[in-house]
Symmetry: C2
């Protein structure tokens, strides 16, 4: 099993912490954080790291594509360019493999999903968020998430979500849908609706494991209380984790192959 | 008594909420928030609103200078320009009054203090923060604050503060200092040291008054606890409020007049 997940958003939105929490890895343990001086260079590097993880006895080769520098410069015009290039290169590589005379089983290194991190500012999407999603929604499955959602109260999350979804609709952005077939079981339909209602997912991540009442809990300790990452009343971390690892990984890959890659392929072959 | 306070920072950092909390006004109640489309226009408007407030029997004409649009565009190059122009115009206006033959008591409309809001991203100052402060530290008293500090744990606030202060030093930025004279009383010296140690001030604001155990408390209610704005174990709101309104308002005005305006004046008169 292989799966490529891209993570995009300005720095400090908790992306690396969330990835570590999602896959219980320390993928970003040795990560060097670019200084402000380096960030002034206005380059968005796209880097990928692969790790083997085991989930319920299934071995998964997970590749995380990181995009440090996105949204961090004073001038972020075209900060999406290197990201679009990266995704297209992976499509191109797959297309070239497909077109070979002696086709061997190819690795699927295409980007299957992009978690786009929105800052919890409470006012809606920024111009850069809209620009990015407009340019990438036809190339990769975008799942928008609200980073550091413990900045928002329950009411603020509700209204922020509503604002974001209406801006997404206004701008004709197609984000990944949790679709169901009419012949799906009632459970599956209800689950898909519950997932759809939680978009964008309000996530909290943590590299710290606290001990609360004898139990080990991944969370953030504040003077006024403890946020529990896996507590569904506190945030949507568990929902996101389940959909990525358990329920929707295959659909994300299928949609990438059958829809997103297909339109790239058609465009390339008709020149 | 008159005092002009400028507030700068990208949108969603809790600036208007903090101003309302600091002065118990609803200065921003009818405020219209610019849509993403308007923000794409990349203009930073500088607008000022005056309000009469009474603090401990003293009437104060408080002017808040707002800078909507700062840091919000995709390209924020020169987003500081209109702000520098505004401050210079106020200096120019004061200088022209001073130079008149028949001088009458002039209003002091110069900008006495600038609260610069830093996003609580945990990684340090952004390039835009550094650019802004470098261009404004010789024109206005800058007091950096960390907005929405309830996003950070106590440990994160400590290390974030250290990072920010070292970046400020590296870039030769002069922020407002809480100075004391050697002949000050011990209390005043200790208070100044305590204030200096809290820079940048980690603030939380709220437009909501909650009732906790029969007491009315300004705060934010989360599923995991309540942040109390005026609780000094929760944030530095009270420290900031006291220094602005009680202890350092006169010094901020004096420094503006004796140092910042003076260098503008000298520069202008020597041509
Ligand atoms: N409030 C809050 N802080 C977080 C969360 N996740 C990470 N952080 C903190 O935010 C800072 C930046 O996190 P990081 O994962 O490096 O962000 P990145 O730059 O987007 O990869 C660190 O101090 C983290 O401890 C979260 O869910 N909520
Ligand atoms: N977590 C947190 N949220 C805040 C704080 N102050 C304001 N907010 C929320 O952040 C959002 C934006 O606040 P606002 O004051 O309009 O920000 P501004 O755009 O900087 O003026 C609103 O939903 C506020 O309720 C704070 O101290 N902490």
């Amino acid at each position: 099993f292989e799966f490529t997940l891209m993570v995009v958003g300005e720095s400090g939105l908790g992306k690396s912490t969330l990835v570590n929490s999602l896959f219980l890895t320390d993928l970003y343990n040795e990560r060097e954080y670019p200084s402000a001086a380096e960030r002034i260079e206005k380059t968005v590097k796209v880097s990928s790291t692969s790790v083997e993880i085991e989930e319920k006895g299934v071995r998964l080769r997970l590749t995380i594509v990181d995009t440090p520098g996105f949204g961090d410069a004073v001038n972020n015009q075209d900060s999406w360019a290197s990201i679009v290039t990266f995704i297209d290169e992976r499509f191109e590589e797959f297309l070239n493999d497909e077109l070979r005379v002696n086709r061997t089983k190819t690795n699927d290194n295409r980007v299957h999903c992009c978690l786009y991190f929105i800052a919890p500012n409470g006012h809606g999407l920024k111009p850069l968020d809209i620009e990015f999603m407009k340019r990438l929604h036809k190339k990769v499955n975008i799942i928008p998430v609200i980073g550091k959602a413990d900045t928002l109260t329950a009411d603020e999350i509700k209204s922020f979500r509503r604002q974001i979804l209406s801006q997404i609709a206004e701008n004709d952005i197609s984000i990944y849908q949790f679709a169901t077939d009419s012949d799906d079981e009632e459970d599956a339909i209800r689950e898909a609706q519950s997932l759809q209602a939680s978009v964008p997912f309000a996530v909290v991540g943590s590299n710290t494991v606290l001990e609360i009442g004898g139990k080990k809990v991944r969370g953030r300790m504040y003077p006024w209380g403890i946020v529990e990452v896996e507590n569904e009343d506190h945030c949507d971390f568990t929902k996101l984790r389940n959909l990525l690892i358990r329920t929707h990984m295959q659909d994300l890959k299928d949609n990438t192959n059958d829809v997103l890659y297909e339109s790239y392929r058609a465009f390339k072959l008709t020149g």
